[in-house]
Symmetry: C2
Subunit: 194 residues, 2 copies
DNA sequence: GTCTATACGACGATAGAC
DNA sequence: GTCTATCGTCGTATAGAC
């Protein structure tokens, strides 16, 4: 087909840059990581890197997108009940990426920011996924309140993001415990926490 | 006494800088606001500004500190029940400052960051305040779960921060509604939401 | 298409004169 | 206490080799 020869190498380099950027941001955080450092890691010049990405924020956006995608794929082949625990556990292992996520989300509040579209799509999508999960639970287990699933979904996602922010600056908080508490509040007193 | 003459003017200028910085960050957000712009607003040069603050992050830390202090004072002279609503409502009025708060919290995860100490003190303090509030409620109104107040406090603070982050990037979420839902989950079904 | 070299403007920060 | 001058680094833009 068409995509042969020269394209192959380019795509490989592009992937290499994305993974190097992920590594460096995970290790050294959002601040203090320059494009020149990422380029050097890939044995390439800065403009060489810019050939693949329009801007620094474009690179960061695509790093987050890749991250989301691999996380999503891994989630799909997992048993239902404790999805959120996995998210939390991964976050706890990579504080640099949690910081990257939070920093980008804040910066993306500007509609002109390259990552704005990404987050603007991400949250409604996440809310609808969590809503579906809650609805399915609702069929078997009665909920403890009459708050509609849509609103509970926004609430649960807020807990995940909020406890991560709290944990970033104060590692003594127990993210997993907090999420378990949040889920327990939704269920009847006798329901086992799964 | 000692604090006279030269000191007086310095303190006034210092205050002026802090308030100008608050204004500009509130209006133009964390990104795209330079110290030169703040200095210009105060009819001063950049090094003139740097005489009062060690670094940009030092300035931002003190802006947040001042913000926290004025908010704290205003909260104290307010009737008990709906404190959190006021916090949310203020946030909704000043997205630039919410963005500043979130960005700083993320950056302050680095122990070497000037704002690290501020946040590291702030969260335990907030948790103990919310814990006290929950304990006082517990005396009159029975709670809906047996989760200890300390853990519920961390959870509630996570909801506040998390829903603000979600709102930053997707203004369609209703922060006040979410907080009301969170509080409602703690109370028995018949308790009116105050 | 892939990449290097070079340069630009703006940033935060510092040194030293007044 | 405030300035001018300057530094090193950042993200970005362009010209052009292969």
């Amino acid at each position: 087909m068409a995509k042969r020869g020269p394209y192959e190498k380019g795509e490989a380099k592009r992937k290499e840059i994305l993974e190097a950027a992920l590594d460096i941001f995970a290790a050294e955080g959002y601040r203090g990581t320059s494009l020149r450092k990422v380029a050097a890691r890939c044995n390439i010049s800065l403009p060489g890197l810019m050939h693949y990405f329009d801007s620094k924020e474009d690179l960061l956006t695509q790093v987050l997108r890749m991250r989301d995608e691999t996380a999503r794929v891994r989630q799909e082949q997992r048993t239902e009940p404790d999805r959120y625990r996995e998210i939390i556990r991964e976050g706890a292992a990579t504080p640099g990426l949690v910081e990257l996520f939070v920093s980008m989300a804040a910066a993306a509040s500007d509609p002109a920011h390259p990552a704005h579209a990404h987050f603007a799509e991400r949250y409604p999508l996440m809310r609808s996924q969590v809503t579906d999960w809650l609805r399915r639970r609702l069929d078997t287990t009665p909920m403890r309140s009459d708050i509609p699933p849509e609103r509970l979904a926004a609430l649960l996602i807020a807990v995940v993001d909020g406890i991560q922010l709290q944990w970033l600056v104060d590692r003594s908080v127990d993210m997993e415990q907090t999420m378990d508490d949040a889920v327990a509040l939704l269920l009847p007193p006798d329901a086992a926490g799964d």
